[in-house]
Subunit: 332 residues, 2 copies
């Protein structure tokens, strides 16, 4: 395994692919590998790209990858599709990508399928991003389907988060309802050549002008304990970029916006704060998974089945059942 | 508080609303109330309604509520919108609903806003559903934005899950990518009067004919430990219903499908299995939240900040940091 790490660090793609699989599977060897790789991390610009299905996110991610390549930067792509446990979605996306980017040694693409649980997916995504960071990819694009809170969580651990909208996806209220605006560093209206694009831009602009919404959302408990919440950055006003990903229109301007945001992060100290947020989120997620696994292991199948049966028979309510279980178990 | 419970059980709507707020806020009184109410639960038919933004879910839920009322059944509606921490989305949805259902004492509507964390939202949703079940609502419609894994988790704890699609939301691949098919008991193609509806129906039919996908998705660890995974029901083939929610077209047929599914659940023993799944998911979620809260409390702000700083400085990797933290803390 340590040989695999060495090979991956020297640019061996096959070793990298095997290493990522190892890391995804999350064993003792994976932790050792990540521990060795970790000091090499911290150099990549991690860019989250999120948006509802049908906004053209994947095409946009491809165009961004090509544009970064043209600038000489290497690009890692992590496509997270937590709602697709059967391979269809992810594989198809890969095949489309392949056509444009296949054979370019400066691009590495990985699709993340379901990892059995939500925490598992967030864990695996963070770990894979760290591997790509460690082996030297300059930009890492993390693509998520952004209509769910979990995907938002994954996206917001990036340095820069793009929220992609498109005209004509239901009425405008839906754009607001999708409600990922407050995590956007850059708003992208893709398919900007379509009818209604200007309405989408205006609706978003109006939202932004109404003032930044109170940032009250979905902070992890660890972030709250660590006092990382409430320090939202006021120095950056999310720009709205219009693109037509299928033709590449607007992509250079979007690249400029991303570069501007990176410069802002570096100058304002926000980069450092986001690194802390990311570490806090990752620690909390790992702790959660470990604690529940340890506890369920202690409880055991028989006792768990018994308590589930009692809850189903309405002999005990779930909250009281949890109290009783917690009183019975040992320290992790 | 016990008076509130009593009043709610006798049908006092104002007491019910206050009780639900109490339960949402999750204190010691909330647990006592839930414990008292719990023996009264288990009678409602819990129907999850999920689908991407723009499919017309909310309108469909209203039509279903009206149809149930016409049959004499009482209806609770829980609208979960985890991506909208600022109130806009949920409130607007409520106002639209109000127009049709306001003043009907047989309907109770509650929108669930963000509860600070993902686990918090799932916890609050489960608790509110239990309150509505306990006070006697016959049918509880739980509406979620179904493009994310967390929302899917919430929906799948229902007895019957409707997955709503609509024509023209990006290409057909998106429908597959949305990938919530495997949790669907009933597929609904809403906006069936629109161009392309027949293509959406055919694409879904094709997916179903390709055979049920392997049910490998997103099981909680508790479900796995309890051996509840892998017992998927083979006796039910999800029907595809076409509706035009805005005109009510197709809603009677959809009601028949839901009634058929309920009868199937009762006859096949699947109802009991779903109750066990639901209890397992709820226990696991509560345990997770309690464990992490206890742990973070023990660690304390200072030590947590310190370890986060060390991770950010690359002095320790996240997995090793978690190991170290777990070695230092006491039993819950």
């Amino acid at each position: 395994m340590m040989k695999l790490v060495e090979q991956a660090l020297t640019g061996d793609r096959r070793a990298l692919a095997r290493l990522i699989t190892l890391v995804e599977n999350n064993g003792a060897e994976a932790h050792e590998a990540l521990s060795t790789l970790y000091p090499h991390t911290g150099r990549a610009h991690i860019v989250g790209v999120t948006g509802a299905p049908g906004t053209g996110k994947s095409t946009l991610v491809n165009e961004l990858a090509k544009a970064y390549r043209a600038q000489g930067a290497t690009v890692g792509i992590v496509a997270v599709d937590p709602t697709s446990p059967f391979s269809g979605g992810a594989l198809l996306g890969d095949r489309v990508r392949m056509r444009d980017l296949f054979g370019d040694p400066g691009v590495f693409i990985r699709s993340m399928a379901s990892r059995g649980s939500l925490g598992g997916l967030a864990r695996a995504t963070a770990d894979v991003v760290q591997v790509l960071d460690a082996v030297g990819y300059d930009v890492i694009l993390v693509e998520t389907v952004g209509a769910g809170q979990s995907e938002v969580e994954i996206a917001r651990t990036a340095h820069t988060t793009l929220v992609v909208e498109a005209p004509g996806l239901g009425d405008e209220v839906q754009a607001l309802k999708a409600g990922v605006l407050e995590i956007a560093d850059i708003l992208v209206v893709n398919k900007a050549d379509r009818e209604g694009a200007i309405h989408t831009v205006r609706a978003l602009q109006m939202m932004l002008d109404l003032g930044q919404p109170q940032v009250t959302m979905h902070h992890g408990q660890a972030m709250e304990v660590a006092g990382l919440v409430g320090l939202a950055d006021d120095g950056w006003k999310p720009p709205i970029c219009q693109t037509v990903a299928t033709s590449g229109q607007g992509v250079p301007e979007l690249m400029d916006c991303i570069a501007d945001h990176r410069a802002y992060l570096r100058e304002s100290g926000e980069w450092e704060r986001r690194e802390r947020l990311r570490a806090a989120a990752q620690l909390e997620n790992l702790l959660r998974e470990r604690l529940i696994a340890h506890l369920l292991d202690q409880i055991g199948q028989e006792r768990l089945n018994e308590i589930i049966a009692r809850v189903v028979r309405r002999e005990v309510d779930p909250h009281s059942a949890v109290e009783a279980l917690l009183r019975q178990v040992d320290s992790p």
